[in-house]
């Protein structure tokens, strides 16, 4: 789960990191009032779960409260990569001397949190890593010890020469690790970490992704979820316990298992179609889940055909078939449905489906080809 900049900043502040003040506005008037309260130049920043908001015009400097209101008017409601901006963060502009990058993320290969720092901050760190890897210093943290003082120093020492700045940055790096662990994060990043001409080190931007598997035990973090920033269909899927990602195509996909679901999408593309979604319905034959899945898929007006691809595995296929039939009886579906079911008792399952009027298949290729054809307007 991604959280907003202002929420990540709250976590960072709680860990002791020097983060400049800031308040959230949902209307231009609020932004004006907040800016007036700070006085002087402020920054108005779109709060949206997407990179590239700067390029999209979602971050603007305002020399006074009136201009802050103006910018907030422009930014609120803006569409950034398909997401509507509902909130802006208003924060006093800082006197920036240098910009660095400090981030920590879970490294699969090292099986542990790994820091990445660079004196080249305020830019796309992936680009820096690719073009000039020598400008990046990395350190893997042993989860048994956490980050050790000399390790934090080693990272900070790569960013600055001035001992006073190194000392502050060492502290911030250790605090960032605390925030990362105490939030159940998979990624936490300060970009840029600035120095001011007064010699202070501050985090003026903040980004954090939470490991979804941590949320059950971190209600304070779960409370940061902003469902307004997600497609309604994805919110509904999560509530139904389904794994769903909306895409732009017209072939609705309903598959058991994440790997098979991806392979099914890929096969739709292979046969010239475009998948409308990723959806993992899990291993259950429960009609309620199928109903929820169908409701979610059909809430997308682009969907022209619906494709089930179910590998029975240990669950018996006839049970799954009955679940699908019962579910489709309960609700009214517009687009045509084609179903592939294979595994234990597949013959029985295919009979049940055919009797209920479905096109039933045992081959994944056949069903996908058919679904693509249907979506393209074929019969």
């Amino acid at each position: 789960m991604d959280i907003h900049e202002y929420q990540a900043k709250e976590r960072f502040r709680a860990a002791g990191i020097d983060v400049p003040p800031g308040e959230i506005a949902t209307t231009p008037e609020e932004a004006e009032t907040i800016a007036a309260g700070y006085g002087g130049t402020v920054v108005v920043k779109a709060q949206v779960h997407s990179g590239g908001r700067g390029k999209a015009g979602g971050v603007r400097l305002a020399k006074d409260a009136a201009e802050a209101k103006e910018h907030a008017t422009a930014i609120l409601g803006m569409d950034i990569k398909g997401l509507t901006v509902e909130k802006v963060l208003v924060t006093p502009a800082e006197d920036i001397d240098t910009e660095a990058y400090v981030g920590v993320l879970m490294d699969r290969k090292k099986q542990a949190a790994t820091f990445m720092v660079s004196a080249e901050g305020g830019v796309d760190i992936e680009h820096v890593a690719h073009e000039t890897p020598e400008l990046i210093r990395k350190l893997t943290v042993d989860p048994r010890y956490g980050i050790l003082p000399h390790q934090a120093f080693w990272l900070a020492n790569f960013l600055y020469d001035d001992p006073k700045l190194i000392k502050q940055a060492s502290k911030i790096i250790a605090q960032l690790y605390d925030a990362f662990v105490n939030s159940g994060a998979s990624m936490a990043e300060i970009n840029p970490l600035i120095t001011t001409s007064a010699g202070e080190v501050k985090a003026i931007d903040a980004k954090m992704s939470i490991d979804d598997s941590e949320l059950f035990r971190r209600p304070d973090v779960e409370a940061m979820r902003d469902t307004s920033s997600e497609p309604a269909s994805e919110v509904k899927a999560r509530e139904a316990g389904l794994s769903y990602v909306k895409l732009d195509g017209d072939v609705g996909c309903c598959v058991n298992g994440a790997g098979l679901a991806m392979a099914t999408m890929d096969l739709v593309k292979y046969y010239g179609g475009e998948p409308a979604n990723f959806l993992d319905i899990g291993g259950s034959s429960n009609p309620d889940k199928v109903v929820a899945a169908l409701e979610i898929i059909t809430s997308d007006p682009n969907v022209k055909a619906i494709l089930f691809n179910i590998f029975g595995g240990i669950t018996r296929c006839d049970d799954v078939a009955r679940g699908i039939v019962e579910a489709t009886n309960r609700i009214d579906i517009g687009p045509p449905i084609v179903i592939r079911l294979t595994g234990t008792n597949e013959e029985l399952a295919l009979e049940i489906l055919s009797d209920a009027g479905f096109s039933a298949y045992t081959s994944m290729d056949a069903v996908v080809e058919k679904a693509v054809e249907l979506a393209a307007g074929g019969a």
């Binding site: 879970m106 699969r108 159940g184 298992g257 739709v268 234990t344 994944m364």
Partner: protein, 294 residues
Amino acid sequence: MSIFIDNDTKLVVQGITGRDGSFHTLQTMEYGTNVVAGVTPGKGGQTFEGPNGQTVPIFNAMDEAVAETGANTSVIFVPPAFAAGAVLEAADSGVALVVAITEGVPVLDMARAHVFARDKGVRVLGPNCPGLISPGKAKVGILPGQIVTEGPIGLVSRSGTLTYEAVFQLTGAGLGQTTCVGIGGDPLIGTNFIDCLEAFEADPDTKGVVMLGEIGGTDEQEAAAYVSDHMSKPVVGFIAGQTAPPGRRMGHAGAIISGSAGTAEEKMKAFEENGIAVAKRPADLVGLIQDALN
């Protein structure tokens, strides 16, 4: 022969009295696996009823289970909040292999559990994996026994049902398997492609390997380099998620393209550059491995 599990596997089921644990223990015993013990804290002294009148003793803790039964392998079906603790307990108990089926285990918990297991020299498979099966010998986890058959192919995959799909097609084409291993869809897994490839290379009965990857991370790229450098046996592969958008988690916690890293494209390229024939669709795997074996 097979890898990781065989006729000598003596299995203990952690969470044997739970809904999933009991269901899959029955399936596992049906397949003929030697299930010697179950563990559920607070239910020690009770008995699990197997499918054909066999009974399995239940213990409160892994140390007791191992001491009493000589179990050498454990499989974990406990809820996410306790799963990492179960891995730690298993790794501390003397078993050599721990198979963690549970999905949704906090990654920070697993970081600790993995280093603990490494220190103890214990192999962890998973978490969030379907387990593994050595046809005709033993099954540990949730892979369906009826779709596999004995034969010369080693299969390793990050996915569950995609594994079924591939195995189903292999078996249908008369290509049986030595062992099918699902390494799991989580970001931090205990056993990776390379571990399995190394074991398949060393297994005399395995003649060729099918490797099923997916988006996220660079495990496939490293595996490809390993194949090129260390494998004499042919390997063919498939990558799921060619149509997945960046930045979105595709079901598996580990199936996510981060920035421009972890795409299907780069993985397929790595496969091809290292002599691993890449299937465009699962159905092509059979032909590719048949060609490779000839």
